[in-house]
Amino acid sequence: MVKLDSKVPSGNIQDKWERHKFEMKLVNPANKRKHTVLVVGTGLAGASAAASLAELGYKVKVFCIQDSPRRAHSIAAQGGINAAKNYPNDGDSVWRLFYDTVKGGDFRAREANVYRLAQVSVNIIDQCVAQGVPFAREYGGLLDNRSFGGAQVSRTFYARGQTGQQLLLGAYQALMRQVGKGAVQLFSRREMLDLVLVDGKARGITARNLVSGEIESYSGDAVLLATGGYGNVYYLSTNAKNSNVTASWRCHKKGALFGNPCFTQIHPTCIPRSGDYQSKLTLMSESLRNDGRVWVPKAKDDKRHPAEIPESERDFYLERIYPSFGNLVPRDVASRQAKFRVDEGRGVGHTAEAVYLDFGDAIKRLGQEAISEKYGNLFQMYEKITGENPYKQPMRIFPAVHYTMGGLWVDYNLMSSIPGLHVLGEANFSDHGANRLGASALMQGLADGYFIIPYTLGNYLSSNKFESLNETHPAFIESKKQVSQKLMQLLSVKGKRTSDEIHRQLGQLMWEYVGMSRTKQGLQKVAKDIAGLREEFWKNVCVPGDANFKNSSLEHACRLADFLELGELMARDGLEREESCGGHFREEFQTADNEALRNDEKFCHVSAWEYKGVENSPLWQMHQEPLIFENVKLSQRSYK
């Protein structure tokens, strides 16, 4: 039985992190260079961690699947980053950001982690501004803030609609500065395919060089995983095409517990699907909901052009149902309500799978120029994709899979259940509970990388002894052998279906049964269906080419093999959690107003799944970490 110790320090929540920082052991400056740290992934969490650790003096090796670390998917985040700066003087504080995040996550996050996140949020903004991140400013030259989904204060810092890009470039530049100094070795176009354990500790990785096809080994004293989320298990999502679960999944199969896998965020404002060939979905930042009004026609099957539908025949349903939050309700609530409208037959557009997001009033009130200043690039992107001008007619939007709150289980020090394996950013499960608030992903990624791991990793390194070893150790040789075998197995199937087709089929199953609303029956069925599809994959997938050179079909098939296992675990987790909370909506558990109905007596815990191996049925065993709320009173969320 795995023991789940969250290692949350004792004491007042306000003092835990300060005291913990003091109590943790330090690594002598002269000894830091004796430790090699492997960082996998170069998004906000990975790049910021790698740069910060190199600045401290550690030897860092950093890996990314992209051709450049600057292209990690954090780059695509649009809306902004939260911080409890309270510059607008509108009542924000560390406590309020903490409170909002715990409540927004529907009371399924660890209080102490969230409080620390709110505490360090203020340092992140300082750091980024010092790096030259060009945040939006007011005419006086000071930083501008805006309000963002789910919050009643303006605490979101932004750089037009491309905040993620600007923050990532800041972290990337800090990273490249260390590369230039020789403190970080950069390995791009490398995909981690296995975690190497020696004496139960994470001591290295096995990676595939995506250009030469070579299987390579890298050893170190700790491994930091910052490889993002697993939204692409749904095939269609707002994730980049190459985002995948493989690095996390291979660690899971080596013993790292997977926390709350069914907690998925479906983002309410995305551009709807236009046809079966659709390869990905594009998000429209939810900052649009600050000025846009969401509506559908009051009548069913109303095929009129939106301009021909008079105000009195429009249902501004979010404003109607939630008068105090209106269009700014949290993401899960907004998504579900859009689905309800489409299910009622009041969807719009040629697929009838969309609702309107209308800027008509805002343009009248503020003028087109002001709207363009705020959202210009989003409007442009919308027009490029749909061929429609959102200044002239309302946008059509629909929810899409966007973020995964679940991920590898970590303790307060961001260490997984495998000693030495630390997990940062979206790849871990920790801070967002069952639903993430807007502009909190960037905050968490950078908090983990800049301000948490540099402290907690030092404590791990100084508290443990590390046998000197290199890549010739038998554990590395064995891992390489297994990785190669699996790749050869994929190439040798020589079946009839492309991995893309099978991935689409998996995505449809996931969207239908593990999507915005779930049922016991559906989850039971889909767990079986996915297991069946997985079997078919291994018998009938077609992967041309060979393993010794750049081969994108092989890369995709290799990732899909892991998604086909993860999908089943997500269904099992959803089945086990007999309550509704945040993004996990079980139809059997809802209030009279169709809101999520939690069951705090039975499910106020993290479900952490242990992989038991193919010889066992079921493949997983669940462990629980109880969640204790001492500072925020458990309550039914209400945005009315």
């Binding site: 046809g275 020589k494 492309t498």
Partner: protein, 261 residues
């Protein structure tokens, strides 16, 4: 749903040493709502089903921000639509029975890896040489301690929107990386935070650009016209000015400056 048929002539190259050649493909029943890359997905899917190797091309976010996608389409980097990456180019911009030539970004400093995939790591090395502000984690002052005039901040932001795709290099007859380098310099040099290292940054980044084998700038401006983020040519003028200033200020000390008379 409107569909079109296209004749494709796509560059195939098995590796850096291979000479490479165009290969003909037909893309049939292509919905005009598809993106250009989705059209290539359809072609690739047919190839895979015939157990043939699909066409390798780089892509990732497919929303125009990561800078991974490339391609020279009918002679233009990222295709015919201005201010647009290949992934955001949609098939409604093409006509039925068009012939479309698809090539990699070509430059000495961007060697071809396979088919349409090129190695752009030279850009990373240029950033490593000086494309940053030296500030260690934890040593920052309060974010509002230094006001930045909105106009300056906006100009800095405009330059910072560069996605590092390399279209500027691919479209320049000299394969110069000036627009990429100048955009990064403008981003950092326009801010108060960027001032202390302004001159060193200019010298270091330009030196690295030259070392990577990019050509010189002859101010034809095609880079800016091809740029999916429409980075202004003015940034190059600013770069040249800073570089000149820095070169003069950093010339080897003379006897005069040593006070040797």
């Amino acid at each position: 749903m409107k569909t079109i048929n296209l004749k494709l002539k796509i560059w195939r190259q098995s590796g850096p040493e291979d000479k490479g050649h165009f290969m003909d493909f037909n893309a049939t029943n292509i919905s005009t709502d598809m993106s250009f890359l989705e059209m290539l997905d359809v072609v690739n899917s047919d190839l895979i089903k015939q157990n043939k190797e699909p066409i390798e091309f780089d892509h990732d976010c497919r929303e125009g921000i990561c800078g991974t996608c490339s391609l020279v389409i009918n002679g233009s980097a990222h295709g015919p639509e201005l201010g647009t990456t290949t992934c955001q180019l949609h098939m409604r911009k093409f006509n039925d029975n068009d012939t479309v030539y698809i090539e990699p970004f070509r430059a000495k400093a961007f060697p071809v890896i396979k088919d349409l995939v090129v190695d752009r790591s030279a850009f990373d090395r240029i950033i490593a040489a000086g494309g940053f502000i030296s500030v260690n984690t934890g040593s920052a002052q309060d974010a509002n301690a230094i006001p930045v005039a909105k106009e300056k901040a906006d100009l800095s932001f405009a330059a910072a929107t560069c996605i590092g795709c390399g279209a500027c290099v691919a479209s320049c007859k000299n394969a110069s990386a000036s627009l990429f380098v100048a955009a990064k310099m403008a981003h950092l040099n326009l801010l108060p935070q960027g001032q202390p290292e302004k001159e060193n940054r200019a010298l270091a980044m330009v030196a690295q650009m030259d070392q990577e084998g990019f050509g010189s700038c002859t101010n034809t401006g095609v880079c800016s016209a091809a740029c999916p983020k429409e980075i202004s040519l003015e940034t190059i003028a600013q770069m040249n000015r800073t570089f000149l200033q820095a070169s003069l200020g950093n010339r080897p000390p003379t006897k005069l400056s040593e006070g040797g008379f």
